[in-house]
Symmetry: C2
Subunit: 479 residues, 2 copies
Amino acid sequence: MTPDQTPTSSEKPDVAEIEARAASYDIEEAFPEEDFPGVLLRLVTDAITEGDMARARALFLDQHYADAADIIERMQPDDRSQLVLALGRDLDPDILPALDEEIQDQVLNMMGVSGVAAAIEALDSDDAVAIIEQLDEDERRRVIQALPAEDRAVIEQALAYPEYSAGRMMQRELIAVPEFWTVGDTLSYLRSTQDDLPETFYEVFVVDLRHHPVGRVSPARLLRAQTETSLRDILDKDVEPIPATMDQEEVAMTFRDRDWVTAMVVDDDGRLIGCITVDDIVDVIDEEAEDDMLRLGGVTDSDIFRAVWGTVRARFGWLFINLGTAMLAASVIGLFEGTIERVVALAVLMPVVAGMGGNAGTQTLTVTVRALAMKELTSSNARRVIGKELVVGLANGLMFAGMAGAVSYFWFKTPMIGAVLACAMVVNLVVAGLAGILIPLTLDRLDIDPAVSSGVFLTTVTDIVGFFAFLGLASVFLI
Amino acid sequence: MTPDQTPTSSEKPDVAEIEARAASYDIEEAFPEEDFPGVLLRLVTDAITEGDMARARALFLDQHYADAADIIERMQPDDRSQLVLALGRDLDPDILPALDEEIQDQVLNMMGVSGVAAAIEALDSDDAVAIIEQLDEDERRRVIQALPAEDRAVIEQALAYPEYSAGRMMQRELIAVPEFWTVGDTLSYLRSTQDDLPETFYEVFVVDLRHHPVGRVSPARLLRAQTETSLRDILDKDVEPIPATMDQEEVAMTFRDRDWVTAMVVDDDGRLIGCITVDDIVDVIDEEAEDDMLRLGGVTDSDIFRAVWGTVRARFGWLFINLGTAMLAASVIGLFEGTIERVVALAVLMPVVAGMGGNAGTQTLTVTVRALAMKELTSSNARRVIGKELVVGLANGLMFAGMAGAVSYFWFKTPMIGAVLACAMVVNLVVAGLAGILIPLTLDRLDIDPAVSSGVFLTTVTDIVGFFAFLGLASVFLI
C-alpha cells in the first residue's frame, strides 16, 4: 500500500501512511525527534492492542534484525508472546542471536522444538551453536534430533568443545585453498563452486597438504594480483592459529592486539577446522567487560529484563555474604563497647575510617581487576605495582589523616581524638591499598575470577582493620 | 645468524641461539612454559643492561607490533628510553597506537617532532589522528607543520571534528565506485590503480553522482559475480551512513547491533568522506566499557602504568568527596549521641544497616549504569524497571530484616533492638533500590555521565538513611 492509495483504500489514512513509512526507514524522517525503534514499538504495540495482528506483522517484518530484536526486547511480555506467535516461521532467525539472554529464552520456548530447529538450520554454525547452548539438556537433545544429519554433526562437534572456547565460537563455513595454487586457480575456484561456499568471507585461508594453515590472502589482494602469481608469493604469513580449546577471552585479546578481521581455528593436530570473525569478537569483548563490571558491583549478570523474583534470587547471594561480613565487622566493634560507652564521639567517627578505607581499596581493586583482565599486570611487574600501591596508600593516608584529624579535633575539641583518627586513617589506607592489589592478585593465581569475589574480601578487611585500628588506638590513648 | 652457525661465530652460543629463535615465533617452542612477550622482555632487558644495544635492537625489530608494544609497556622506564633511542627511525610506527596512553606519551616525547611526524606520515589517517590527539597544543602544531601538505590537510580536516566523533575515528583511505559501473569496470579499476588505493579493504563502497553512498559490495561478491553484471544488481543496500559528528560510543553500538565490518562516514551534505573499520570499534567498545567500570570504582582511568605522584593525584579527588560525604553521615550519627550513650549496642549494629543498604544500592546502580550505556533502559521501560526495583528492594529488605533482626536479638537479648534493626533494614533496602535506579537515571537525563558520579550520591543516601532510620527508630522505641 502506498501513501497515494490511502484516501480510497482505508478509513484510517494516518495509520496507512505510517505503515507505509514504517516499512522503510522513512519512519526516521517522519518522527525525527523520537528514536526509531521507539516509534515502531509504539505502532506495533498499538496494532497488537487493537487485535490487528496482520498489521503488527506487516510493521515488523521488513525491519533490520537488529531493530527487530530491539523492539522485541522492549515489549511487554504479553505483547511479545502474541507477536512471536503471530510471526511463526516468518520470524527472521538472525533476530535470535541479537536478543538478550532472558528474552531469547522466552522466544525460543514459544517457538517450540521444530521452530527452533528450522531457525538453527538457517543460521551460520557459530550463531546456531550460540542458540543451542541456551537450551536446557532435554530441549537441546530434541532440537538436535530434529536437524538434518549434516547440521546435526556440525552442532555436535562444536558442543564437544568446552563452553566459552574458540571451538564453540567458530563457524565451520570458510574458504581454504592449497598453497601451491595460483591466484587464477583460486579465482576460478571461487567463481565455480558458488553454492558450497559461505556467502561472505573476508579472507581466503591457505593450507598445506596436511590442511595446516600457512597464510591468509584478502579478497582485495586477490583482486589486484596477476592471475599467474603463486599464492605463496602474496600470502600474509600472520597466521598464529587459534587452538579450538582456547578460552574466548584469550581469543578476544589476541584479535584486539593483532587487529585481525578473521582468525583460523585449528584442532589438536593443527588442522584448520573453522574461523572466527571479528563481529563475534565485538560481542565477546562487550560481554567480558560487562561481566567484570557487574561482578565488581555484586551482580552476576544484567537483570534489567528479568522478572522480579529471578532478580531477587540473583542478588540475594551477594547480599547474604555481605550480611555475614557486616556482622563480623560489627563483632569487632562489639569488642570495644566499653570504650564507646565512655567516649561516644568514637561511634560517630568510626564509620569515616572504615568508609575511607573501603573507597580507597575499591579504587586500587578496580584498577587491578581491569589490569589483570587486560594482561597488563603480570609476574614481571607485580612487585613494582604492589610497591607503588603501598606508597600511594601511604601518601593519600597521610593527607586524609591530616584533614580528617583536623575536622574531628574542631568538632569534638579533643586533640587526642583527632590524633587517634589520623593514625587509624593512615593504617587503614595503607592496608586498603595493599588489600586492593593483593586480594585480586592472589585470587587470580588461584584461578578464581578476581572480579567476582575480591569486593567482599576487600570491604571485610577495610571494615575490620578500620574499626580495630581506630577503636583499639582509642582504648589505649583515650581511656 | 642461524643456529648452526653458532659454534664458530660466537662465544656465547646460548645467547646466539636464543636470538635466532627470538627473531621468529620459535621462541614460543623454546620456552613453552612462559608467555612469549615475557621471555623476549627478559632477553631485551638483559641486552640493555649489558649495554649491547645492537642485540636489543635485533631482538626487538622482527616482532609483531602488538608484541613489541606489549614489551615496551612492561619495561622499566630507563630501559624503555634506551631502547626507543637506540631504535630511532626503525621503531615500527604501528607500535604507537597500540601503546597505553601514559607510555605513548613518554615514547612520543623521546621521538621528537620530526620522528613523530615521520611516524604519522607512515600510519593510516585514523591512527595518525589518534596519535596527534595525544600531543599538547604546541607539539601538535609543530608536528603538523612538519608533515607534507597532503597529510597535513587530512589531519587538519579530521581535527576539525569533535573529539570522540566518527570524523576523528574514520580513515580517509577507501574505495568508492559509481553505481552505474559493472563488476568488470570495478575489477579493472582495482587492478589498474594499485598505488593510490588502500592496501587492504573489506568492502567497496558504491556512490551516486553526488557522491552519496547507495550501497556496499564485498570483494568476495565481486570475485564471484559475472563481469558484465551491474553493481546495482549485486550491491547490499544496508548503508545507513554514519554522520561524521556522531559520538564514538553510538558508532560502536551501531556496529555491534548490525554486525558490520566497515561503516561509511558522511559529511553534513551526505557525501561519503571516510570509513570506519571494525578493528577500531573493538578498541572503542573496550575503552567505553573500561571507562564505565573504572568510574564506578572511583578512578578516572587505568593508572597501572602511571607514576606514583600522578596516581595519588588522580585518586585524591574521589576520596576527598568521599571524606565529605562520610563526615555528613557522621554528623547524622552525632544527632543521636545521647541515644548511643544509653544503648551502646546501637553503635555496634548501625554499620550493618548502612553497609547492607550500600551493597544493595550498588547492585541496582551497576545494572542501571550498564543498561543505560547499552540503551536497554529507555523512557519506554523506565517506569516498569523502577517499579521492579521497588519490589526487589522490598523483598530483599524483608528477608534480610528477618535474618539481621534475629541475629541481633540473640546477640543482645533485647527483642526491641532486633525489631528496630529489622525495620531500619527494610527502609534502607527499599531506599537503596530506588536510589540505585533514580540517581543514574536523573544524571543521565541531565546529560551527566552516571558512571562518574552515581556512586557518591548513592552511598551518601544509603549511609544517611541507614543511620537515621536505625538510630531514629531506636531513640523512639528503645529509650
